[in-house]
């Protein structure tokens, strides 16, 4: 049997990696992927708590997180494409002007 | 009676080996069938030289693929270039593991189902595995570092993501009617007859629109004519597998035909009653017959694939996207709503 805390540590580690990627990466797409990693880390703790407390609501919440992630990916990637069209770069440090 | 663990593992291994062997043989002979049938449709003979009716042609092709030089062009991104065909083939072969082929049979009191494993989210598993298979094609196109390959890979990923939605929605009608994701339960729900002679298959049970959507979306998912834009040889050289040779090319080829067979299996299980068919004769024949009906139905689907290939021209890319989003998706949704209303009635 696996203790609940193991799942939580793994979830926390994934979330921390996501935060680190968000901070140190300079490619917009990779930054976006770091956000997805954070959401995945949170999902794991939802499912682990659902199993621990015998409440299925935790699993249902994962679906809502996935819906939000899908919406975010669709809009975010569209924004990335339009940024690339105007700036021709994916480096966030070079996308620092409000106006062309 | 449940099996002891070591016997369960032994039975699983034996089943996996048999299923893989039959599947790969079927793949090889689907290629032969396609060449032969398309040949006759175009007033040619198809393969005739190797063996009677060219029946040994698949073996000759296999030998040729093995002995050809395996080129790796210098400008490719090597790790992904090598991994891409393996991804395509492995996921194509994995999806067969949840397909049931017939009823279970009993030896010495142990019941062994004719299926590698029965999971109660079997259909979702197939959908998931096929959706991961996109990466094989997409990464092959990208890692080849060649504009035709890249265009092929881009087309493939856009096309597969678009048609996956219609594919999934067209199956929901069947799921509403049977109330389970387990492929075995779905087939069991289709046993029996209407008025004593029409089989109670889902296709005769109001799912004809669903089947139509599924068939079209499945053609697009497997990159077959009329939706073979990712490898359109008249526009893109050979699309995503332009730079591939020898066994790596053969892996893509095998993956494509394995996917065709998987798609035919799912269509048979969901819409055409799986292994159900007329049963007669002595007990031994009664054991063999379900497998025979299943094989016949799959053969019919494969023949339809080849027939369509011999008949239809290729779509233009904007037509393909417009068709998928503006026609097929609404149609699948209408089918879903109609089925839900009919079941709730």
């Amino acid at each position: 049997m696996v203790p609940l805390s193991y799942y939580l540590v793994l979830s926390g580690f994934l979330f921390a990696c996501g935060v680190a990627g968000f901070l140190i990466k300079r490619n917009i797409i990779t930054i976006f992927m770091s956000i997805e990693l954070m959401l995945n880390g949170v999902n794991l703790s939802f499912v682990a708590f659902a199993a621990h407390w015998h409440v299925l609501a935790g699993q249902v919440f994962v679906f809502f997180v996935m819906v939000v992630a899908a919406a975010e990916a669709a809009v975010g990637l569209a924004i990335i494409i339009s940024v690339y069209r105007t700036r021709e770069t994916l480096n966030v440090d070079r996308v620092n002007l409000l106006k062309l | 009676m449940a099996l002891p663990i070591w016997l369960f593992i032994l039975a699983s291994v034996i089943k996996s080996v048999i299923v893989l062997g039959v599947l790969l043989t079927a793949v090889a002979y689907t290629v032969w069938l396609e060449r032969k049938v398309v040949g006759h449709m175009q007033n040619r003979w198809g393969p005739t030289r190797v063996g009677p009716f060219g029946l040994l042609q698949p073996a000759a092709d296999g030998l040729k693929f093995i002995f050809k030089e395996d080129l790796t062009p210098p400008h490719v991104y090597k790790p992904l270039f090598i991994a891409a065909p393996m991804i395509a083939l492995i996921f194509a072969l994995t999806s067969i593991s949840v397909v049931p082929f017939g009823n279970s049979f009993t030896i010495h009191g142990y019941t062994i189902p004719l299926q590698i494993t029965d999971v109660n989210t079997g259909l979702l598993l197939i959908l998931g595995i096929t959706s991961i298979g996109v990466y094989g094609v997409a990464l092959a196109g990208w890692s080849s570092n060649n504009k035709y390959s890249l265009l092929g890979g881009l087309r493939a990923s856009a096309q597969m993501v678009s048609y996956e939605i219609s594919l999934g929605l067209s199956l929901v009608g069947v799921l509403i009617m049977s109330g389970s994701f387990s492929l075995r339960a779905i087939v069991d729900a289709q046993s029996g007859h209407f008025w004593g002679f029409i089989p109670r298959w889902n296709i005769f049970h109001g799912q004809i629109i669903g089947f139509f959507c599924y068939l079209i979306a499945a053609y697009a998912e497997t990159n077959r004519i009329p939706f073979d834009l990712p490898e359109a040889e008249t526009e893109l050289v050979a699309g995503y597998h332009t730079e591939y040779s020898a066994m790596k090319f053969a892996m893509f080829f095998m993956a494509e035909y394995t996917n065709m067979i998987t798609v035919a299996c799912v269509a048979t299980l969901l819409f055409f009653g799986g292994w159900h068919g007329p049963l007669f004769g002595p007990p031994l024949v009664r054991v063999i017959l379900p497998l025979f009906w299943f094989a016949v139905k799959i053969f019919a689907f494969l023949f339809l694939y080849i027939w369509v290939r011999g008949t239809l021209p290729r779509f233009r890319y904007d037509q393909l996207m417009a068709f998928g989003w503006k026609f097929l998706l609404p149609l699948a949704l209408v089918n879903l709503i109609a089925t839900a209303i009919a079941v709730a009635w």
Binding site: Y6, L37, A50 | -
Partner: protein, 174 residues
Amino acid sequence: MSVHLILFLAFGAVCVAGAVNLLAQRHPINGALSLIAVMAALAGEYLLLGAEFVAAVQVIVYAGAIMVLFVFTIMLLNAGVEERTKDSRVAILLGVPGVLLGGVLVGWVVLRHSGTEAVPAGALPGDPATIGQLLFHEFLLPFEITSVLILIAIMGAVVLAGKPATSPAGKVEE
């Protein structure tokens, strides 16, 4: 060690390796692939927790749809190796130790306080029927709200990416 724990450790190792690889790789496509590995391994963890429907949806939605969009964008924009700037060095110097510190702290607190109560395997019915009942009865309103959210996201994506770039005068080119 039970089979459960071994499987947890195996999937967890893949998760950890993938997450670290996402940080280490400079090319976005390698990052995307390691993220896909993380997601697939997480689906395995969900299966261990008895959430089979969540696991299937995780593979279909995350690995099969969202990540395909990412890979598609990387291919479309032909994103190359990430370039480093001065600011990114500062971020590494401050970010990595900070995140490590936070992670260690959280791990220590969790391990110290939550004890070693085992999560029972497969005790929860995570099958599609039960989840569906819950989703369409108790959580109907949030479900409908997310459908509106998805609709807005679709429209936003079409508006943002569908049109060609606006010209400096602000007129949309055909």
